[in-house]
Amino acid sequence: MSQSHNQSARKPGGFGGKGGRGHGGPGGHGGPGMGMPVEKAKDFKGTLKRLMTYMRPFRLQLGSVVLMAVLSTVFAILSPRVMGDATNVLFEGIMGKIQGVPGAAIDFDAIGRIILYLLGLYLLSSLFSYFQQYLMADVSQKTVYNLRKQVNDKLSRLPLKYYDARTHGEILSRVTNDMDNISSTLQQSMTQLISSVLTIIGVIVMMLSISPLMTLIAILTIPLSIAAITSIAKRSQQQFVRQQKELGLLNGHVEEMYTGHKVVKAFGREQQSLQQFSEINERLYEAGWKAQFISGVIMPIMSFIGNIGYVLVAVVGGILVLKERIKIGDVQAFIQYTRQLSQPIAQTANIANIIQSTVASSERVFEVMDEAEEIPDPANPVTIKDPQGEVSFNHVRFGYQDQAVLIEDMNIHASKGQTIAIVGPTGAGKTTLINLLMRFYEVNGGSITIDGVNITDMSRGDLRSLFGMVLQDTWLFNGTIRDNIAYGREGATEEEIIEAAKTAHADHFIRTLPDGYDTILNEEASNISQGQKQLLTIARAVLADPAILILDEATSSVDTRTEIYIQKAMNELMKGRTSFVIAHRLSTIKDADMILVMNQGSVIEQGTHDELLAQGGFYADLYNSQFSKGGFDLEVG
């Protein structure tokens, strides 16, 4: 939850300046505001270079964008000077009049010419700035589109190992927040940077051409403002860090209290929860307003320094005009230039921060791109025409980490139609077997074969289509119930879907929902119960009609009476299919053709119920201790 708090809106560029200021990309956010701490990339140069390669296909457009930016800026920079000429003509005319020069009048012909010239400049500048933005929209959005697509493609090639090692939020924020950040930077900051730098150079050149002395005065204010900004930014960063910390705490508290709402209510702890909240909220407020205030001081101070320059230019300019060293229109142009100067400087400083954070974002995105992928499918995969479902583990060795081997030399052989029960206490690592069977993880040694074919010789798609899974962690997506069931098999007909739902005993409850099969499951699928979700996933597996089943006798969701029916349906489904059952029910275990007893990630015993009892090992212990207490419920799971 705490991934997206850097959403401070980008500071509007302030006043003045004719450089094309773009508008937010889709996010319109991402860059830290002034004085916010900036995250730095580990390898700034390399990442920036790499980001640039994504823009390669658009180099033609980019080239024209840069050209347009140059042209539009150049024209924008020229215009104050030209406008100053108009003022000069006016002033000269009027001075002539005042001084009583005969026939002195304002030369409207000259002014007309200048104005036409100006009009041309303005039109061109606007036109180029428009095309520059227009082209950039395509370039930046398409670049981000490609980048997003590549990341998504990459994600689909990453092994499960990658997903299991990270939180969803962590991966998600790279694809969304970081991508947003890149997108808006490409859209606005790139062209802004070009025009800002050009403006600074151009303006200084123009100023020098008017008066080197006044230029010196104006430029002296630059280090002053930079010093002011950096000293204030340092202070405000401290406050922003504090604010971020408190915000994290506050979000954590909210998350905890909301998820535990029932418990808070049941134990009557609302008051304590509120009190804790308001304490954090108060601290957040303290840090928050200080951070805002200090960063808010930057602008006024900048503009004051700008104004000092303005005043000095006005005064010195006035005196210079008196000494007839320069003309009044030049003073006017110069004033406009000084105003134009302060803004791109502030912008460049801001953009520098934005670019840093963008490169840091890109680096995180590229990290995903550089992850090791799954071993690719073989070039000529073996397909099993008529799958029998014979599964063998031959000397399989496996561990999630190289140094911690969980399974050493495992040998299992399941013939067609057999049931293999997997038994063991909670957290015994039963999912490990599924991970291996479905080739979510690779074995470290030995092999797994299906109908005699090594699973590594098959394509993953073919392999997985042999399996049907009904697991405890149900997964449904945002869409209709019909779509969710049909997920099991592409192109399933309406009849088949309903038939599958009936087999899974889901048809009844589906029809009690307001929209029946068209009921849309919401984002968290919280509009149906846990048990109902389970039924839907069973229906999905029924529809898929696989050769091998993996099921979890999921007691905590689907149970007792409903389970009887499901059990019946499952028994029907299991006929003729090889089934791996994560077993909770004694009857399943006793009837199984083979029991795998797992503990702490490894298979410690295997055999039939009677064999294992005779062995007198872990399983026998499990089983007997239950009987000695007079109960008979082998609650494993």
Binding site: A9, G22, H23, P26, S79, M83, I94, I98, G112, I115, Y122, S126, A137, K142, N152, V175, T176, D180, S183, N251, G252, E255, E256, T259, K262, K265, A266, F267, S273, L274, N281, Y285, G288, W289, G296, F304, V311, V315, G318, Q332, T426, G427, R464, M469, F477, N478, T512, L513, E523, S529, G531, T555, D559, T562, I564, S625, K629, G631, L634, V636
Partner: protein
């Protein structure tokens, strides 16, 4: 969004201060060109150098004053905006804490969290921007017009032409742009949704070979978003140059007409220079307003979500007058109770009547969706019944204060939720003033003492947010200890032993029996073995009671019960 601004009210004083300060700041911004005009018209024209220096220093003072005003304004606006955020956050959190489970079901927990955190941060950001930028805009605009008119009223007529043109341009672009910005927000949400589903369902997607399908889904959303973004940015690409052009054309017009006025000697050159700067300021103020384009759709989506929460009234409230306590302790009785979830077609439970007495264990068993959990959620009044009555100690729960009612109950939910803090903090959650001895005792009965003592810091060991650093079974045991420390009259266990291995489970149940001899115990269970010894078993089937009695009785009289038992046990074991 406007609706939310009622919470701005308490901050009227700082906001007023911001307005006044920004007003003075704008004045100073506007006064500078006037002074500059004086330098030109008086100083330069008359060749009066000391005058130029004098006015120059006045200008510096004015600029300094402007800066001070602006800094002070920043101070007040920061306080007001963050204060507003604080207030709104507290309001929402307070409000949500009063919600019953019904409102939580309706909105969804994750969504409520986002609304309380990110959405409010978003709004606060916008308020800051508004106080900084938006407030300044109208003042600069109005001030600029006043100054311009005072310099030369006739020339100001130019604004009569320019301003409507500019306003129209902004309006037209906004009308096209804002809906697109809104659409973008929606499409981003959609893309994130697809992404999230891809992450949570990665195993299912891969096992059903739907990687290609999901890729297409993602690509569709991605393309859609890109398409709209390009459109919006192209429209916005239009805006800036147009605005700049209008502004520049106006300055050209001002020079031309100003020139004519100067020729006619109704105006001075310095005035014209000042006038040009006023015009710029007026038009930039309009530009500032247009900057809000990007922020407003985002913030207004947040505002709508927050308002939804605030407008939602909790369904369950304490009665105005509560009934006096009776002498009874631990009696629970249901009288013809029916309850449906809002919007559901069929009631979750119907016509439920039974009584649970102290010293007895009442077990509830039944299939998924048969209404077991619903039934027990009515006892602590997490929901209100639609028909009938739920009595605790002979009083209708709706006539008791929720606080007092829940104080009698030790509740163990289906999903064990722990909070950040130490282990003993978590157990003490049940009883704030529990002694160390009581905490230890509760942990022992809940079979948690063993694993706690194995931890390095024992009872002071920290629990991470969401209890991620302890196992499911350990969580469940701590959650049981938390209920036991209350010494409650009524204990409710909602399928609370599911994550325990069988040895721990049976030990725990044996210990529990000793501890709860004088309390009423209600257990929801999946397993027949759990309910076997209960004093009464309630069998639920399709929202109704299918039978009440002891194991043997039910085996003889209740078909549903027999079916459940048979499904779990083989013949020999039942005998």
């Amino acid at each position: 969004m406007i609706k939310l601004f009622r919470f701005v009210k308490p901050f009227w004083l700082p906001i007023l201060a911001v307005l006044v300060l920004v007003f003075f700041q704008s004045l100073s911004e506007l006064y500078l060109p006037t002074l500059m005009a004086d330098i030109v018209d008086i100083g330069v024209v008359n060749g009066d150098t000391p005058y130029i220096w004098k006015v120059g220093s006045v200008m510096l003072l004015v600029a300094l004053g402007g800066m001070l005003c602006s800094i002070a304004a920043s101070y007040f606006s920061s306080r007001a905006a963050t204060g507003f955020g604080k207030l709104l956050r507290a309001k929402v959190f307070n409000h949500v804490e009063n919600f019953s489970l019904e409102e939580f079901d309706k909105v969804g927990t994750a969504s409520l969290i986002t609304r309380t955190t990110n959405d409010i941060t978003q709004i606060q950001q916008v308020l800051i921007m508004m106080l900084r930028m938006m407030v300044m805009a109208p003042m600069l605009c109005i001030g600029g017009i006043i100054m311009a008119v005072s310099k030369d009223a006739t020339l100001s007529l130019i604004f009569v032409v320019i301003l409507p043109v500019l306003a129209l341009a902004v309006f037209l672009i906004a009308r096209k742009g804002i809906p697109l910005f809104k659409a973008i927000q929606k499409k981003i949400d959609k893309l994130n949704l697809v992404m999230r589903e891809n992450l949570t369902g990665i195993r299912v997607i891969r096992s059903f070979n739907r990687v290609q399908h999901e890729k297409m889904r993602f690509d569709e959303a991605n393309y859609d978003l890109t398409d709209t973004s390009i459109k919006v940015n192209k429209i916005m690409a239009f805006m800036m140059p147009i605005m700049m052009l209008v502004m520049n054309l106006s300055s050209v017009a001002i020079i031309w007409f100003g020139g004519l006025r100067i020729q006619a000697e109704s105006m001075q050159v310095g005035d014209l220079m000042a006038f040009l700067q006023y015009a710029m300021q007026i038009m930039f103020s309009l530009l500032m307003v247009s900057m809000m384009f990007v922020m407003i759709p985002r913030a207004s989506a947040s505002a709508v979500r927050i308002n939804e929460v605030l407008d939602m009234a909790p369904v369950i409230n304490d009665a105005e007058t509560t009934a006096p306590a009776t002498g009874q302790k631990g009696h629970v009785e249901f009288q013809n109770v029916s309850f449906s979830y809002p919007g559901a077609e069929k009631p979750a439970i119907q016509d439920i009547s039974f009584a649970a007495r102290p010293g007895e264990v009442t077990a509830i068993i039944g299939g998924t969706g048969s209404g077991k959990s619903t039934l027990i959620n009515l006892i602590p009044r997490f929901y209100d019944v639609n028909e009938g009555r739920v009595l605790v100690n002979g009083i209708d729960v709706r006539e008791m204060s929720q606080q007092k009612l829940r104080a009698k109950i030790g509740f163990v939910p289906q999903q064990a939720v722990l909070f950040t803090g130490t282990i003993s903090d978590n157990i003490r959650y049940g009883k704030e003033d529990a002694s160390d001895e009581e905490v230890r005792h509760a942990a022992e009965i809940a079979q948690a003492a063993d694993f706690i003592s194995k931890m390095e810091q024992g009872y002071d060991s920290p629990i991470a947010q969401g209890g991620t650093n302890v196992s499911g079974g350990q969580k469940q045991r701590l959650s049981i200890a938390r209920a036991l420390v209350r010494q409650a009259e009524i204990y409710i266990f909602d399928d609370s032993f599911s994550a325990l291995d069988f040895k721990t489970d049976s030990r725990l149940r044996a210990a529990l029996k000793q501890e709860t001899q004088e309390s009423t115990v209600i257990i929801v269970a999946q397993r027949v073995s759990t309910v076997l010894d209960a004093d009464q078993i309630i069998v639920m089937d399709e929202s109704r009671i299918a039978g009440i009695g002891k194991h043997q009785e039910l085996m003889e009289t209740c078909d549903v019960y027999r079916e459940i038992v048979l499904s779990q046990l083989s013949e020999e074991e039942i005998a």
